[in-house]
Symmetry: C2
Subunit: 392 residues, 2 copies
Amino acid sequence: MENAFSDRINDVPKSFIREILKVTIDASIISFAGGLPNRKFFPVKALQKAAFDVFEEAGNEILQYSNSEGYLGLRQFISDRYRQRDGLDIPVEDILITTGSQQGLDLLGKTFLNEGDDLIIEEPGYLGAIQAFAMYRPRFHPVAVSEGGMDTSQLSQVLGERQPKLLYTVTNFQNPSGISYSDANRRAVADQIRGSSCLIIQDDPYGDLRFSGERKVSFKRIVPENTVLLGSFSKTVAPALRLGWMVAPPPIMDKLVIAKQAADLHSDYLAQRILHRYLCDNDIDAHIATIIAQYGKQKEAMISAIKDYFPAAVQFTNPEGGMFLWITLPEGMSSMTLFEAAIKKKVAFVPGTPFYVDRKDSNTLRLNFSCSDEPTIVEGIRRLGASIKELF
Amino acid sequence: MENAFSDRINDVPKSFIREILKVTIDASIISFAGGLPNRKFFPVKALQKAAFDVFEEAGNEILQYSNSEGYLGLRQFISDRYRQRDGLDIPVEDILITTGSQQGLDLLGKTFLNEGDDLIIEEPGYLGAIQAFAMYRPRFHPVAVSEGGMDTSQLSQVLGERQPKLLYTVTNFQNPSGISYSDANRRAVADQIRGSSCLIIQDDPYGDLRFSGERKVSFKRIVPENTVLLGSFSKTVAPALRLGWMVAPPPIMDKLVIAKQAADLHSDYLAQRILHRYLCDNDIDAHIATIIAQYGKQKEAMISAIKDYFPAAVQFTNPEGGMFLWITLPEGMSSMTLFEAAIKKKVAFVPGTPFYVDRKDSNTLRLNFSCSDEPTIVEGIRRLGASIKELF
């Protein structure tokens, strides 16, 4: 049977994170390995009411097949929000509702990538993006990101040598590293892309989860013709609904809609209607404010515990939002080796490996701070610090 | 921008049916063009209650990320139903919940098809399958289907000349033609496939909608190693939820789950929980019985009106279930030309063209009978009969 499969699927390695999450099912383990929003903030009662109300108001209409582009009311909400929050004028026709923003990545791969096409991706970068694009067998060109943003000299080198079709970025509180691109860095990246045929994918699942600092400029403002935006309700409302969106200009949108139809006809229409009703009847910004107040405190607790318990040679990012921070151990130390040691002390994280295109063993690791309360964070970091010290 | 797109997406023509459906928005047109289940049978109140109850019982758990395979309870329901209805023993591990059965087609394309791989598809065949597979640029080998099933001599010829990876079938009340494969035909097809590396995809969205005749044997019973099943709740409960499933043995399932993760992580988990609660608290077979009683009457009304109003030279299928029947005009007549004439008389249908891989103009057309009541059907067929007579 093995040789019956496509080359693309035979090339994809088993999910590393799945294997790690299996280890962390043990309830005595403090896990910083997950990537989930904190379930205690899900608006259960408000969504229950929204669901009840849309059934009452719209009856069987909300249960029928719908259009591939998505519910107009929801797209209008997204358009309005871009205007209010970013001063961006995004017509509803440029918005496509997707089955989570993960699907946006698949549709972009399908719409743009022939086998062997060049694609730039952040390093470290979002695992789900690597997986989605890998299905279309591009040539990956990783470009380093660190505090402040993308390495523009590496970017310049790739753009000088290749003609990449896509440049994948998570500019706000990146998964896995928590870093954000500064305004200056965004402008420098945009200057290099402007006028080329390369499309910047600005994937922004965490942008609303800012607990300090100023909101940054969107690529859509500084290099609009070359920008596709991806967004998600997974971190602000609830991930189970699998509702995200993409923003693209008409010639691209025409193709994306074809890809969307072939993929799943349309995203869950009942969920779109429930979400829209929820967004109309509730103050989403007040809801987000409660989430980030708590995430911010948890991040502070983690940073403070790291300072207390980690050797000084260990580096860490200090994100202004999101759900993750990134640890860099001294050169030559392996986070895979640390993982084995840490599990014995009942604390877990994700080693950096899956966030590199070449899946190399590395001295980096990802810590999630959205799902543990402050005392648990302190205790987990204490255990992890002890594990690191053992390896020194 | 055009040359930035992938070859696959540039090759896909604009959806023909979308264009046709635009014409039929005019309320004075009687439309047999749609492919929708009749919304009057959607269990609005029961799903409203199920939604309310799962929020009440499971709180924030139903709003979190879930596993890619789908909700275990729902997969168990599907497994139990195969046992009760078909005597098939399908372990839950072999069942993957998909975002509509349309996604099952995309995942199969992704998992099996390299560019240029051979694939057998029914002719006429389901448009959505042609679209989904076309994204992976296989070589299509259409094999004719007609009353009784697949043309086994054509099948034998393709199998003699090529090594197809996939054979796509809708064995019950096929879309577009309404035909079903007889038991003998299924066994003859299975005999040709058994022992080969070709996988039969048995896509069965309509199987439960049988209003006459006996339930037929599943390929899963007669050639299990070579069979993948696709199923859907769209025609029995509600399409808006976008919930379907696929059944495949473990080595294939491992790959499908990887493709599923890359596509959308998992299908809407809230919808899975609502659907499961609905299925547990209601008698789905009693619900289906009401649907098919009405669809059966509407089909009878259409057949009877065809006999009254169409010239005798026009052939038609007489389905035992499903939502469609298929008209064959005399040789040399064009259903595209008929479409233009019929619109003037305020009646619409889908010409056969999009159901052929080569999209040739043809003398065939699809009529939907699920969405119009009996007087409307009689009047629409009268108008269509008059249009046909004009062309004679």
